[in-house]
């Protein structure tokens, strides 16, 4: 126990989250999710399974949607991480967030932030996805309330708005 009882001998990993750099005092194998939620107080990514199976914890790392529950801190260091809290820009909600409100695309909403992040990564690389591409992009996101078709409608709506806007 050279590092003391708290076991934080590996201090000072630098993370870039939502455009800001943070020094994090946690073991390098700590799942990114716990650091986001407990150290950075960003509660939007949520614990669902810890196994990368449900997508509730999805964040964007260097442009790709990934589950943060099984991504070690060491693998996230030096990369650009975006969480749902970093999606709004210039005080305006992201078109996906607006579309989810417009379509009332949530029941309990626990899956929603992960789904919006998966969709944001998709629209970032493919502004005009087909229905199949949208559904495939959400393959790793589970919704238990059965809000799927509202969510799909919201994503189609956001894609349309974003294409109009550019």
């Amino acid at each position: 126990m050279a590092g003391g009882k708290r076991g934080l001998e590996h201090m000072g990993i630098t993370l870039e989250v939502n455009g800001r750099k943070h020094e994090v005092a946690a073991e390098p194998e700590t799942p990114l999710l716990y650091v986001l939620r407990n150290d950075l107080k960003l509660k939007g990514a949520r614990f669902g399974c810890g196994l990368g199976q449900c997508g509730a914890c999805t964040v964007i790392v260097d442009g790709r949607a990934v589950p943060s529950c099984d991504l070690p801190l060491s693998a996230a260091a030096g990369k650009r991480i975006t969480t749902i809290e970093g999606l709004a820009a210039d005080g305006k909600l992201h078109p996906l967030q607006q579309a989810f409100i417009a379509e009332q695309a949530a029941q309990c909403g626990y899956c929603v932030s992960g789904i919006i992040m998966s969709a944001a990564a998709l629209l970032g690389s493919n502004p005009d996805p087909t229905e199949e591409e949208i559904r495939a992009a959400l393959k790793g996101n589970l919704c238990r309330c059965g809000t799927h078709h509202r969510i799909l409608r919201a994503i189609r709506r956001a894609a349309g708005e974003m294409r109009k806007g550019t």
């Binding site: 126990m1 590092g3 708290r6 076991g7 934080l8 946690a26 073991e27 700590t30 716990y34 939620r37 407990n38 107080k41 960003l42 509660k43 939007g44 990514a45 949520r46 614990f47 669902g48 399974c49 810890g50 196994l51 199976q53 449900c54 509730a56 969480t83 749902i84 809290e85 999606l87 909600l93 996906l96 967030q97 989810f100 409100i101 009332q104 949530a106 029941q107 309990c108 909403g109 626990y110 899956c111 929603v112 932030s113 199949e132 949208i134 559904r135 959400l138 393959k139 996101n141 589970l142 919704c143 238990r144 309330c145 059965g146 809000t147 799927h148 078709h149 509202r150 969510i151 799909l152």
Partner: protein, 711 residues
């Protein structure tokens, strides 16, 4: 405890058991209104609907209405948020309380302005006399205003005067949820908060035989290790440290296990169990036409997991002999009594505060983890402890929706009308929610693992007409001869409790599948055949509406790949009416491509909320029906992760179209669970329509379809 006075007359909804107006409402001097619901948000949008009701009856803008979290220290005790009763009980109570508050405010205004009541009008809390003088609610209100028993003499608004109720007001919680703002008990963070995890036994029958506690205590960040019998918990400074300590504990704990589970996952093992039998409906008409053709069929449903997306979570603090617990329980008052009993303290020393969780769809691990958190908090007095279950804790230990077997028999006369009908169902009771009645019984999980264990809450059924395992077992159709028998299985090898719609899912699945089988035998169109046996005009209306909406053609046949089927029920035989048509496609697997539904829930407080609940109910039931079954061997539950328990995913999700039949003059009817039965049957009927094979055992996996086609 309730406020019920002597033998007072019955008041509407939950007002009857919580009779003081200030239990429900407070008019604040800052221009807001606080409502105190005893029903809780579980993703069904109830808080938005309740706010609509309060704003409507008080004549204030919706934005002025605040909803206080349900808290045992001040909220009305409305029991459990279940059974689609929140609008009927809590909504109705708030509706009458708000209407009465408005009258009291008007009386005060009349006195203050020196005018008669008839001269007053209200707009957004401003009361104006005909002469122009005005006064606001916020000026008139004080603590004495609502410090009285409700009379329920103030009539709520008639439909013609409503402007908020009946409209699709956007949900108030969605903006926070799409921006990632803290919204759930899982997101709660208190100063100095620690993180706990519980080492659950590997199986129901397991007993802890050995554990090197000092080894756990020496792990990084570990603050406490709690061991009490077979209950083991770890508390650490950081969440990942608690998770790592749990992983180590799993490796080093030694358990003695035993075989306690059924030899088969086929629900028919229930037929060999001891039962208490009760005939719950019997009708006989000797003048009925003689039977020309008889049919029999047996339908089954496996154990189904609630499988909430969020493993259950609670935060607790133990300080100066008192516990405060934040929980997503559906019943904070019964939970409080259960906790006090297990913790061995007076009820007054436990405060239970509701904070939202993810959708639960019934009784999951919410109450259990509240006890876990309290037990761990006791070991680190003064510091809050947050406990979230791991995924496998939830899958292995949540109480499942019970497995069921339903045997049907029926007879047609020479004209193809049903002249005899029997329905026999085998199931456990459908609720083991904590009752908090004490006596060494507890509904919370850890209580059974303690050194001095508590007896698990026995299974029970809510009484008819709503019912539990026998929910919806009595058909709404008119048959001259009928017998419905509930074979209540007492032994509960698997932990079970309330899952959305209780027995309504399997009973309606059986009834509505069998109606199709009889229609087929009679050479009749399934829509026409149902209408022929149904008198209730509202029941007929949902069937006719959905048939029109889906463009149903009498006698339509599937093409060997695609096919459509219908299902119908009135939930609990007293709540909403729902009819569903689905279109399936048989490829490698069965897929539901589209679904149409019509729902009549009486007065629709928020039509979009009704749609959302019905769409969700349909899609969730598609998942149950096509994919879901809890797996186990003789010793252990084998369902531990989403790999072991696949649910419907985005690539396979159907398009859904719901029509709301609004009846503003009618009382509101519970609407959260009405799709669960009809959808399951509609899928079975659509598969038969498409492929000509009848599937009677859920879930309809590829193997079942292949076997049916081969058979």
């Amino acid at each position: 405890m309730t406020d019920r006075q002597s033998a007072a007359r019955r008041l509407p909804g939950s007002l009857d058991t919580n009779r003081r107006l200030d239990r429900w409402l407070r008019i604040n001097r800052d221009g807001t209104v606080t409502a105190f619901p005893g029903k809780v948000e579980i993703g069904q949008g109830i808080l938005t609907a309740l706010a609509q009701i309060v704003a409507e009856e008080l004549d204030v803008a919706l934005e002025r209405v605040r909803l206080a979290p349900t808290d045992t220290s001040y909220s009305p005790d409305e029991g459990v948020t279940s059974g689609s009763r929140s609008i009927q009980e809590g909504g109705v109570a708030l509706r009458h309380a708000a209407a009465e508050a408005r009258e009291l405010l008007l009386a005060r205004a009349a006195a203050k302005l020196g005018v008669s009541l008839e001269q007053l009008s209200v707009a957004d809390g401003v009361i104006t006399a005909r002469g122009g003088a005005s006064v606001t609610y916020w000026e008139l209100a004080d603590e004495s205003l609502l410090a009285r028993e409700a009379s329920a003499d103030a009539a709520p608004k008639p439909p013609s005067q409503r402007s908020l109720v009946g409209t699709a007001v956007p949900r108030r919680d969605i903006p926070a949820k799409v921006t990632g703002a803290p919204s759930y008990v899982q997101d709660l963070e208190l100063p100095g908060m620690l993180h706990g995890r519980v080492l659950r036994p590997p199986s129901y029958g397991a007993r802890l035989a050995g554990l090197d506690e000092p080894e756990l205590r020496a792990l990084p960040g570990v603050v406490a290790v709690v061991r009490d019998g077979s209950f083991v918990g770890v508390v650490a400074e950081r969440e990942e440290q608690a998770v790592r300590a749990l992983a180590r504990a799993r490796r080093i704990a030694r358990w003695e296990e035993s075989e306690t589970l059924p030899a088969t996952t086929d629900p028919r093992f229930l037929l060999g169990e001891q039962t208490e039998d009760e005939v719950i409906s019997r009708k006989g008409d000797p003048a009925a036409a003689p039977a020309a053709k008889r049919l029999e069929a047996e339908y089954t449903r496996p154990y189904i997991a609630h499988a909430s997306l969020a493993p259950s979570c609670a935060v607790a603090i133990f300080e100066a002999g008192r516990y405060t617990v934040w929980t997503h329980s559906q019943g904070v008052f019964p939970l409080r009594r259960d906790l006090a009993h297990v913790l061995g303290v007076e009820e007054e020393r436990v405060a239970v505060i509701h904070a939202e969780g993810a959708g639960c769809y019934g009784h999951n691990g919410a109450d259990d983890v509240a006890l876990d958190a309290a037990l761990l908090a006791r070991a680190v007095a003064g510091r809050p402890v947050r406990v979230q279950w791991m995924r496998e804790d939830e899958f292995m230990w949540e109480p499942y929706g019970p497995a069921m077997v339903v045997r049907m028999s029926g007879a047609l006369d020479a004209q193809g009308n049903i002249v005899a009908w029997t329905h026999d169902l085998w199931s456990n009771g459908h609720s083991t929610r904590p009752s908090g009645r004490g006596g060494g019984v507890a509904g919370t999980l850890a209580a059974r693992h303690l050194e001095r264990p508590f007896t698990p809450q026995a299974t029970g059924n809510p009484p008819l007409p709503g019912g539990g395992s026998h929910r919806n077992a009595i058909p709404l159709y008119e048959f001259p001869n009928q017998r419905v028998t509930n074979h209540l299985v007492k032994r509960t090898p698997l932990r079970v409790s309330a899952l959305r719609s209780l027995g309504g899912n399997a009973n309606v699945f059986a009834i509505e599948s069998f109606m199709d089988e009889l229609a087929h035998a009679a050479g009749a169109d399934p829509v026409e055949f149902r209408l022929r046996h149904l008198r209730d005009p509202r029941a007929r209306a949902v069937i006719e509406t959905v048939a029109r909406q889906a463009g149903w053609r009498a006698g339509e046949k599937g093409d060997g790949v695609r096919g459509r089927g219908i299902g119908f029920a009135r939930y609990k035989n007293l709540a909403c009416y729902v009819a569903v048509i689905v279109e399936v496609e048989a490829g490698n697997e069965i897929t539901v491509r589209r679904a149409w539904a019509a729902i009549d829930a009486g007065m629709a407080v928020n039509p979009d909320g009704l749609k959302n609940q019905t769409e969700g109910g349909i899609i969730q039931t598609v998942s149950w029906t096509l994919k879901e079954a809890v797996r186990y061997d003789r010793t252990r539950i084998l369902t531990r992760s989403w790999d072991d328990y696949p649910i419907l995913a985005f690539p396979e999700a159907p398009e859904v179209e719901v029509t709301v039949i609004d009846r503003p003059e009618e009382p509101p009817l519970g609407a959260g669970e009405g799709a669960q039965g009809p959808t399951a049957a509609a899928i079975a009927n659509a598969i038969h329509n498409a492929l000509g094979v009848r599937l009677r055992d859920m879930p309809f996996t590829r193997e079942k379809v292949v076997a049916a086609l081969a058979g």
